[in-house]
Symmetry: C2
Subunit: 288 residues, 2 copies
């Protein structure tokens, strides 16, 4: 028997590196860093991909032999203003095109928060579902599944009105499983005592994890920084039992990628290769 981390192929067999974890790296640096570390899967973000050029980025990852496990992110579908709503739908169609160009079947959607002065969470969630109805056929034609990501309730007002896996499934289940899935992210869901039930429910929707379109891991650490967005913890530094959640996701039939997505300014200030090596080591110790 080998200690965790000593058999790199086995350790990395489902590992995917979300590029925001090593935001200090350009796309070519990401491709090169992954090659050196034996990492074959990445999750990408729209802004750096657009900056580099979508077709150019697609060629880069293809030539580097990388699989793109998800594109983050579309969404922000809660506007009440018709012009803003139309613009959001256009932007999401562009995101779908970008996902297709990059060869990933998973577009992560962050729903959006409450419009200014609005206090109607239920109405906002309903607008998300309506927008999915408009986008799902377009996505399906391009081989892309929309993945609704519940974000931690601390983001409910300003970023994502979908706060629990149960809510995400309530929305996703209005659509065929091939069209709309959900994202299970340990950082957002770890506190919820109904999450095991939600993961089972997601898995029961079909083969290969059913509605689980993506599984992302990060740890929960405190104190939270101002604005709370960049407070995610390195794997193993915090309170999340990531292994237990990974086992639930496995048991739900998800055999696909496990994507490490950590937004943390301390990690960004360090050498990217060093961060990636540490992430892989922590992943072996705390997720596998």
């Amino acid at each position: 028997m080998t200690a965790p981390g000593t058999n790199t192929d086995a350790v990395l067999s489902r590992f995917s590196l979300n590029q925001e974890t090593v935001k200090q790296w350009s796309l070519p640096e990401l491709a090169e860093g992954c090659r050196k570390a034996g990492v074959t899967r990445v999750g990408l973000w729209r802004a750096p991909v657009q900056e580099y050029g979508v077709e150019r980025a697609a060629r880069l990852v293809r030539e580097a032999g990388l699989t793109v496990t998800s594109l983050c992110r579309g969404g922000f579908l809660t506007a009440t203003d018709p012009g803003a709503r139309a613009a959001a739908l256009d932007d999401n169609r562009a995101a779908i095109d970008e996902a297709a160009a990059l060869g990933t079947s998973t577009l992560v959607l962050v729903s959006g928060g409450l419009p200014a002065g609005d206090r109607d969470l239920r109405g906002a969630r309903e607008r998300v579902a309506e927008a999915l109805g408009e986008l799902a056929p377009y996505a399906r034609e391009r081989g892309v599944r929309l993945a609704v990501e519940p974000l931690h309730p601390m983001f409910a007002s300003d970023r994502c009105v979908v706060s629990t896996l149960g809510q995400a499934l309530d929305i996703a289940e209005r659509f065929p499983v091939e069209e709309v899935g959900v994202v299970v992210d340990t950082y957002h869901l770890w506190w919820d005592d109904t999450v095991a039930e939600g993961i089972r429910r997601a898995g029961a929707a079909g083969p290969d994890g059913g509605r689980i379109a993506a599984f992302q891991v990060a740890d929960w650490v405190t104190p939270l920084p101002a604005g709370v967005l960049l407070g995610r913890g390195q794997l193993g530094d915090g309170s999340v039992d990531m292994r237990a959640l990974r086992e639930l996701v496995d048991a739900a039939g998800h055999t696909g990628p496990i994507e490490v997505e950590i937004f943390n300014e301390d990690l960004w200030a360090r050498d990217g290769a060093e961060v990636l090596a540490e992430v892989v080591e922590r992943y072996a110790a705390h997720v596998l």
Copy 2:
């Protein structure tokens, strides 16, 4: 018909001022400020009461004709270390004594977070329930009900492993309704689409709101400050539909106090009387 706020008696008929909302006031200033504003109910905190002297504080509020609607807070019952656990139980018995001395029947309990290095939320919640079993008889003999307060999930690791009203009720329902209730605080629960169901369930447990031992209001505003503790918003400044939640609590049979509890450094930097006047005005406009 009179505009909101013009009939002070009607506006204030259920109003209670939690002292942390005007933390800049000493206890005598609080008593005097409430007298001037026609406020007859206050929620108190242990630290300033202890500093002033419990008996002396009890006499002060009694002589000022103030009713103490709750004492914040006991709890922090998640320790695994036997010594720390015994100390926490002792401290909670002291808190029960203090509540009794102040003449309030409601001791608010914040459960406590995960011990260092611990990732077992379920185990921690179980320890909270066990501790309540030890404390409830002691409290009952002194006319005090333990009020389990679910805190927003952003506090789950470091402050309170009980994050939803449903979880709080799961724990409270192991005990007679006279012994253990729950706190409904709009700041902590507003995002949860199961909160209406939880409030109904709490109300169905008995007369006078059943398990609803306290109803507290504050608004949710962003961006959250570092540490997130002092980020509560003045009523009306944020995303919470406080009136809708108040109506649910009313419908559940709670006819008792509505306690305004806002931790906000900007409010603390202002004149206490001015803050209280603004709070009452906002309360009339956004809660009643």
